[in-house]
Subunit: 257 residues, 2 copies
Amino acid sequence: MLFFYYICAKQVRMDNLKNRRTIRKYQKKDVSTDLLNDLFESAFRASTVGNMQIYSVIVTRDEERKAKLSPAHFNQPMVKEAPIVLTFCIDLRRFSKWCDQREAVPGYNNFEWFMTGAVDTLLAAQTFCVAAETRGLGICYLGTTTYNPQMIIDILELPKLVFPIATVTVGWPAENPAQVDRLPLEGIVHNEIYHDYTSKDIDRIYLYKESLASNKQFIIENDKKTLAQVFTDVRYKKEDSEAMSEILWQAMKKQGF
Amino acid sequence: MLFFYYICAKQVRMDNLKNRRTIRKYQKKDVSTDLLNDLFESAFRASTVGNMQIYSVIVTRDEERKAKLSPAHFNQPMVKEAPIVLTFCIDLRRFSKWCDQREAVPGYNNFEWFMTGAVDTLLAAQTFCVAAETRGLGICYLGTTTYNPQMIIDILELPKLVFPIATVTVGWPAENPAQVDRLPLEGIVHNEIYHDYTSKDIDRIYLYKESLASNKQFIIENDKKTLAQVFTDVRYKKEDSEAMSEILWQAMKKQGF
């Protein structure tokens, strides 16, 4: 009996992946370096192109540095309140340095490797998050990382060929939020070829999301006619993302890609 | 006893993440649609920006279509031999269509949203892979997706604002390969700021990789002086990735980003 308990305790319920929630409030309780390193061991087992592991992770625990990072993430409170902020970075620098030291001429300072590095980095980041959640930790991705890359580059002293692509706050949950909605599978999965959406498809796929009281409330609060307008006019405006595209591109160039 | 067995069978060993291997050979045995959809349910619970789920997945089971996809992936045998090939795509089209139908003006046809979409898509893709592996399936990422995007776009009939970013082959394992090496944690994790690598650091971090008999064999087989040269001169050449950067950029433009 104890033996079985031991086995089960070391395992993760498959259902965990389906029942997960993003956690934005954390207990004032440390996450040990041993646990963190254990999670990294899992994360870095994720698939990686040519076994090159073209990523680095910056661990921020220092209160002052978290305070500096906070504006780069539009002052989302998780940055200051989480015990750990992780910045997952594309890193072609380490590999290129190795090449330089081994009579090899690296050619990884271009857009193709930026994208390949992004894939590599994000597979490791997401594996970290799954591993963290199976140990009872809560995580939150900050989409703001690609909005203000230059600020993050400066604060974390990222040199050339290193680029921040995802930030994750990590800690022991101090909330148990309700699970949010997701689109139905038929709205996302295509068999054999992409089946373009008819207007009836769109209506059906977004029906449940639009029916939610919380989403109806957003429309009222923002004085809009539709939920889509809350996205286009309030949360994610065209002019903002066009400016950010330029900032992102300039930061990539400056980092040597 | 049976009860415990039942619980354990529905769970995933934490160690699975650490013990994982990429699987390139598959049994000639189908993966059911029910199982596939169950895995998608887990995958689509991954974190997603603004709960927008800006991705689509194309499921390829048809032999003819797999044969067509094969050259886009440099004829890697997994494409034809796996029962399922999944192409994970950034998809700003569905969301933009919804906006169009709801009196909202979408502004997601730019580089910032391409990158944000890439993050969204890859978190879902990797969660799919973890879920698949916990059920005993084997997976392999094909890094070739961003090398030949236009071929894949044409074969899978991807319309504007849809872009392939990761391909995963999935099936029941027909091999049990040895686990490959990984860099030591200290080579990847940085505390507080990026600590640039000295030449001694590089030597130490790559020591184990360079000591492996299999890697020494690659040097001999390719008639090179160092393992790094196998990467720069044989596997991932500068001129190839520069040409691919241009192809990738052109394909992005053509898809409306």
